[in-house]
């Protein structure tokens, strides 16, 4: 054992120039670089769309269309962002959307009208989230496995409810909400819900103890636990939140498509994860950005829109989507490592 020896008080850390007093600026700049690069991608896409199809792309109706199409997956992605930020994953979002949308559109449910459909969709979403949360937080299951199990069961249950049949919505109030007449100041109600969920999500993540705890649990669950955070309860809440978002998304999907089908929400889990990751949320947890996630969703939706307007086929669309995921993540790694 050595005698610890020490000089009198002087603990100047060995830091490099960039880690000096201007650190906060670097930190701010880094966050900005990430958001700016996403905005840059979006701007480039808008430019491409505007050049290739000036009349169809740069059109109010098209803007409404793109935002409407982004709404359903967007709401799911906000919930997913919280889960990933906390170091988890939710593979069951698509299946929960499917289950909630068919449960809410059965003949029995439709008898209760608008409120019945909305209530059922939300409750089914929250219920599935609760099961996920309990299995993960208190059952000690790995999120990947627990939500994979939910994925399988929810899809199975959705199939059982529908028997493979498409359930058409006959409730006028729900159908009307998806039509042009329901637009308020040119904004579709679906887009308003999406915007509201985004704002609430942003505030929740950045301005509340709930968000802070989610980040802490994702950054270092053991440290969070030893700092006195109830990690398990936090996890439960996070999967509940994701389930809630799925329920809301399911309702939006019912409004949009005027029906419920067990194939709804196909591959939502991958789309939501991809949007969150290219937005800058760390897959390993500890950092999440609602702004980035929403930009990620808008980028994907805009690509799909531009491709469809230019009559490019789905094979090309899929290739481009994959390439953009890779490019976005590479650019982020580059910016993250140089700052």
């Amino acid at each position: 054992m050595t005698q610890p020896v020490s000089p009198p008080r002087d603990d100047t850390p060995k830091v490099s120039p960039v880690e000096g007093p201007s650190q906060w600026r670097t930190l701010a700049a880094r966050a900005d670089v990430r958001t700016l690069s996403l905005l840059g991608v979006l701007a480039a896409l808008i430019l491409i769309g505007g050049i290739t199809k000036p009349d169809e792309f740069l059109d109010t109706r098209n803007l409404q269309l793109v935002l409407t199409q982004a709404s359903v997956i967007g709401v799911v992605t906000v919930g997913m962002t919280f889960v990933i930020t906390s170091g988890g994953i939710d593979l069951s979002v698509g299946a929960i959307v499917a289950l909630a949308s068919v449960w809410a559109t059965t003949v029995a449910t439709q008898e209760y009208g608008f409120a019945g459909i909305l209530f059922t969709a939300v409750i089914v979403g929250v219920g599935c989230g609760l099961v996920n949360g309990l299995l993960i937080a208190y059952g000690g299951m790995v999120p990947f496995i627990a939500t994979l199990a939910m994925f399988a069961s929810a899809r199975g249950l959705a199939l059982q409810i529908t028997d493979g049949k498409t359930q058409i919505v006959t409730v006028e109030g729900v159908l009307d909400l998806g039509g042009r007449d329901a637009y308020i100041l040119g904004i579709p109600p679906l887009v308003m819900v999406f915007a509201l969920v985004t704002v609430i999500g942003w505030l929740l993540l950045n301005r509340t103890t709930f968000g802070r705890r989610s980040v802490a649990v994702g950054g270092n669950a053991e440290a969070a636990r030893l700092a006195g955070i109830d990690v398990r309860r936090q996890r439960l809440y996070l999967y509940l939140l994701s389930g809630l978002c799925c329920g809301v998304a399911a309702f939006l999907l019912i409004v949009l498509s005027g029906s419920g089908q067990n194939t709804n929400g196909n591959l939502y889990e991958l789309d939501a994860i991809a949007a969150a990751i290219i937005g800058g949320t760390l897959l390993s947890g500890g950092r999440g950005t609602i702004t980035g996630s929403v930009l990620g969703v808008l980028i994907f939706t805009t690509i799909t829109n531009i491709f469809a307007l230019n009559n490019l086929q789905s094979d090309v669309q899929q290739i481009a989507k994959g390439a953009i995921i890779v490019a976005a993540v590479l650019v982020q790694r580059r910016t993250a490592s140089t700052t």
């Binding site: 493979g164 998806g178 005027g258 029906s259």
Partner: protein, 352 residues
């Protein structure tokens, strides 16, 4: 959600076979398979089956995929109710599965039970070829339903729909409707693009349109046989094409979404032709108050016909109305166009 053969390499030659053209009237080629059937009514469940006279008892094993789609659900229903019609038929039906390994297991179980005839709608035709061969070697004739096995040795008789024909008939229907219109514009909402059947439907459609020089196909987007994707893709197509005259939609299920998008966009300036033959499509055609004017069949009644074929095979009989002693090795069904004029006839075959 997939329907039709996932792969049909011998499609062209099959289509050329005489049965497709020999069919009389619309609907299923052979509504009954045993002797003295001369009725050209379609084989729907409430039609009297040919030669109902009880014959030698036959046990038919039926294995299909998971019924996660309206059409597949209708396949199961058709098979079951057809079998119920015959006192001499016992149907051994398995739990539907999309898992190849599981379906192989189910079929092997049926072979071990020594059923007289097997009717198989494979989840994946190529992957189940071996078990088809196995059954044939065990002396059990196999009726291969719709999704075709890799080898003709794996089945005694194949019966299925005609995807190329669907496209062809849809194209001709639209072509005739727009015959007198100059510079007519047509768009296509296809099904899941990584299925071969989608490509075949598109090829047939394109081939038919070649006969009408005044018509140009201006856009095509692929949906995924789901309402959700139908709504999404259709709304994009409507935004991309401010003016067109006709739309062919491959699938009535995704058509629910497509119609929703058309409604949301407030468009009614074109005619729409669907595909497959869903009940909701038939009802819309009958009401005739929207853009949907017709749909091209991919009839689930083929499952009922498959039961007929299996029964005939089990009892060693031939097909009525034909000179042949034996059941044909291949039957391609006709993809009839259902419009306002004949929709009542098909209403009962529409699936949900």
């Amino acid at each position: 959600m997939r329907k039709g053969p996932t792969a049909m390499p011998e499609l062209t030659s099959r289509r050329g076979m005489l049965f497709g053209t020999a069919a009389v009237g619309a609907g299923v080629l052979l509504s009954g398979c045993t002797s003295n059937e001369s009725d050209d009514e379609p084989a729907s469940n409430d039609q009297p089956a040919a030669d109902d006279k009880p014959g030698k008892p036959v046990t038919i094993g039926f294995a299909g995929p998971q019924a996660d789609h309206g059409w597949l659900n209708a396949i199961n229903d058709n098979a079951k109710s057809r079998a119920k019609k015959y006192k001499d038929v016992t149907l051994e039906i398995t739990e539907g599965s999309n898992d190849t390994a599981q379906q192989i297991g189910q079929i092997e179980t049926l072979i071990n039970k020594k059923v007289d005839v097997l009717v198989v709608l494979p989840a994946d035709g190529k992957a189940l070829t071996q078990v088809g061969l196995q059954a044939m070697r065990a002396g059990i004739p196999v009726v291969n339903l719709d999704r075709i096995f890799n080898s003709p040795q794996a089945y005694r008789c194949w019966i299925g729909g005609d995807n190329y024909g669907m496209g062809l008939n849809a194209g001709h229907y639209i072509g005739e409707k727009l015959k007198n219109k100059k510079n007519a514009r047509v768009i296509e909402l296809a099904g899941l693009d990584n299925l071969e059947l989608t490509k075949q439907r598109t090829q047939g459609f394109d081939a038919a349109l070649k006969n009408y020089p005044n018509i140009k196909k201006v856009a095509r987007q692929a949906a995924e046989f789901t309402v959700e994707s139908g709504q999404a893709k259709m709304s994009q197509l409507l935004q991309a094409q401010s003016k067109f005259d006709a739309l062919w939609n491959h699938d009535d299920d995704q058509g629910v979404g497509a119609l929703r998008a058309i409604d949301q966009a407030g468009r009614d300036d074109f005619l729409m032709v669907g595909g497959a033959g869903a009940l909701s499509a038939f009802q819309a055609i009958k009401q005739d108050d929207g853009v949907l004017k017709a749909t091209v069949l991919y009839p689930p009644t083929m499952a009922a016909s498959a039961i007929d074929l299996a029964r005939a095979l089990g009892q060693g009989k031939g097909v009525g109305g034909l000179a042949e002693f034996e059941i044909p090795s291949s039957l391609t069904l006709y993809s009839a166009v259902v419009d306002k004029d004949n929709v009542d006839q098909y209403m009962s075959t529409g699936f949900k």
